[in-house]
Symmetry: C2
Amino acid sequence: MFEAAELGRKVSREDFDAMAPQLRTELLDLQQRLRAADFPVIIVFAGVDGAGKNETVNLLNEWMDPRWIVTRAYGPPSDEERERPHYWRYWRDLPPKGKIGLFLSSWYHHPFVGCAMGDISVAEMEEELERVVHFEKTLADDGALILKFWMHLSKKEQKKRLKKLEEDPLTAWQVSDTDWKHTKLYDKFVAAAERLIMHSSKGHALWHIVEGADSRYRTSVVLNTVRDAIAKHLAAREVADKIAAELKKPAEQAKGPKPVALANQPSILSSLDMTKSIAPDDYVRALQEQRGRLFHLHRKAKDRGISTVLVFEGWDAAGKGGTIRRLTNAANARNYQVIPIAAPTEEERAQHYLWRFWRHLSRAGRVTIFDRSWYGRVLVERVEGFASDDAWQRAYNEIIDFENQLVEAGTVLCKFWLHITPEEQLARFQLRGEIEYKKWKLTEEDWRNREKWGAYEAAVNDMVEKTSTTIAPWTLVEANNKPYARIKALTTVGDALETALRNRG
Amino acid sequence: MFEAAELGRKVSREDFDAMAPQLRTELLDLQQRLRAADFPVIIVFAGVDGAGKNETVNLLNEWMDPRWIVTRAYGPPSDEERERPHYWRYWRDLPPKGKIGLFLSSWYHHPFVGCAMGDISVAEMEEELERVVHFEKTLADDGALILKFWMHLSKKEQKKRLKKLEEDPLTAWQVSDTDWKHTKLYDKFVAAAERLIMHSSKGHALWHIVEGADSRYRTSVVLNTVRDAIAKHLAAREVADKIAAELKKPAEQAKGPKPVALANQPSILSSLDMTKSIAPDDYVRALQEQRGRLFHLHRKAKDRGISTVLVFEGWDAAGKGGTIRRLTNAANARNYQVIPIAAPTEEERAQHYLWRFWRHLSRAGRVTIFDRSWYGRVLVERVEGFASDDAWQRAYNEIIDFENQLVEAGTVLCKFWLHITPEEQLARFQLRGEIEYKKWKLTEEDWRNREKWGAYEAAVNDMVEKTSTTIAPWTLVEANNKPYARIKALTTVGDALETALRNRG
């Protein structure tokens, strides 16, 4: 695989100097155009030690405008990072739309070095790479331009270069004992690299193998590739925008009847027994009981650093707020956070839609309650046409992957759909209009959403079907009777915590 | 001081139940009104152990809508927190406008417990309280409503209550060995509390001492105080907004002539020798030299966890970008971040204006370069009238306090004003219009700003006069000659790093 990167290719100083001014102007110009574009550029550097990763990153910062570049390199995770899923630190560092992110020792570091050093098996490396591929695909699908450079050196060149780096006082710091240790394992590194590139070079995020021995050659290849890729992506997005605008009108016309037809199909929701209820006395007793139980369980989970994430979705007026309040009553306020999800902020809009949920993940042992959630993508955004068909359809897998990462990190995850019948909703809307301090809760939008009941029901059905997994199942809550719904939710959370505490005893 | 809080005041269950529904409705209603208001509410709970701090915070979350409440309690700082100034963690947790933040074990914890336990002297406590007072004043000046509750118990009551808490399995976890240890030091705690309250109860952030023995009494006092304070603050802000609108027009008319008059006064800037320059050959040599020097110094600072913050202010076209690029060339891109400051984002606008600078402070050993900075408040915001006279005038002290905290945390801080003459600026503007890839840099705004040269000069003069402190001096850079300016900036940063490394040898 690396033969072509050991040919000793070079660029003379004259050629380089002749090319440099124009290339630099073009890069700066593209950076300006990028600032107004609706996608970020993510550039990953990896490869063998001494092949010029650092120098190239420095040069990109030097040639381009460093104000619109974010450079990130990763060492051992901080304690705040360790207490969240592994990818949390990459998500929080993602460049917003219009900026360029340069990543060193990134998400490739562990699978690559781990496998080369024999700390993880080839199979484990490949498993890790699947997550990598999914991560990059998720970002690319959202429009991100992803470029990956694998900087290569032959065995001989590597030794030569490390020596040279060591001799120059300006660069000696770059060479560590680890680097020399790695050279001894050169063959293993190259074998791991080959597998890594094979498994993670995808259409949306190709690896570019760069011969790293000659700095001018290396620089020329990287800078030219960056320039061409940004220019191409800018042009492609413009075309895509035009096509999307073109397609919009007929698509909207076609949208009307579909959901109505679906509304007449039996759905998962229609199978629920909506007469379920609990008597007032039983409710008071059960509430006390569950509250006490949850209090203890939350406490234990806090002590053992087990985080909880609760997701509440449901019809307007289904009682999400009331149920959440019963849950927060059963925990110490120090220890939970309720995150109401409404329209994203400006900073959130400049990122992948999942970014704003990643950012709210709490430190170990905390309870995070989402009042509406990432499922908005496949519910309101789908029904109202805020997300393209493509976007909400691929969201199912993106969500499953996100939740898998939560659960793998040890988080207890419960997802609730609070279901009421249209008749019950109408009664509650009318009641809200009558009670003074609840009036604010009832908006024009609620009435509008109600008209689309059928479309929403179809969306809920698909959502449950596609995202109720073994490790992150949906709990459908019959919520026509509020007490019943609350007890069911509290009991479910209690059971989940108990299981988690037992399994990790 | 606490006699009035040891009277054994009580509220009967009947009275409480009679009051509760209305109070709760009022609180929920106020919370809705608050959501649309332009200030946050910050509520601090402190006091002796067992006096009901936790319960009250839980109750506030229970009675009000937890979605618009942020509850924060602090333990030992995380490593990410330890690597920044002490108050970083409080700044990052501040509620945005329209929300309520409840703070436990907050900025009062260390001065209070530290002094009571004898870990710090009374004088040290008072010094820490000065920072507290300044912090709260800064937020209150920006419109925040600050409420502080000191929960008190008599010695006898405290013992009784801790015992009772321990007996109830639902609350036993709240009582730690530390609590019992603290009771033995009751008198010392009370003495420290008295001093603390005396020093930190200010008009903008009064302490309310609450007798904590009876939960219904305690709850009634806190909830009523919260309700009244929010209602009053909402009303006061409405009046203030009206007055501000009323005053606006004549104020704008009066604004005109003032800066022009000031422009004719000699200013700090006019004392600069603007003919300073460096010959091309000397420049190349000096640049190489300073670059090498900085590279080593940055490296050492990184290893020793010494952070650097560089601030660049200056006239349009004074060469900030070029100077910054020479500095970033002298560091490893892994290790610095250039933060361009333009209009604040939506999330930033919902916070105190300093919040967005606090959030950008990097972990230990990193270099953060601000291309424009918090000084915008006293420059562009002053001259353009974006900030009220009150707001920019008090900003000088807020800035000094912010910078003091940086320096106390061990950060190397350099502030540069890049100065050019109006003639030089004109020449550079004209040149920019001619060079293709620099055209984007020249905007209508640049020409407009130029017309206000006098007003800006007066503002710069005041800024330097008021914020050039011993620990954070301004470096005025004669920048008509770009090479000279760059070398001066690089040398200044190098000297500052060298001094810091030596002093902390």
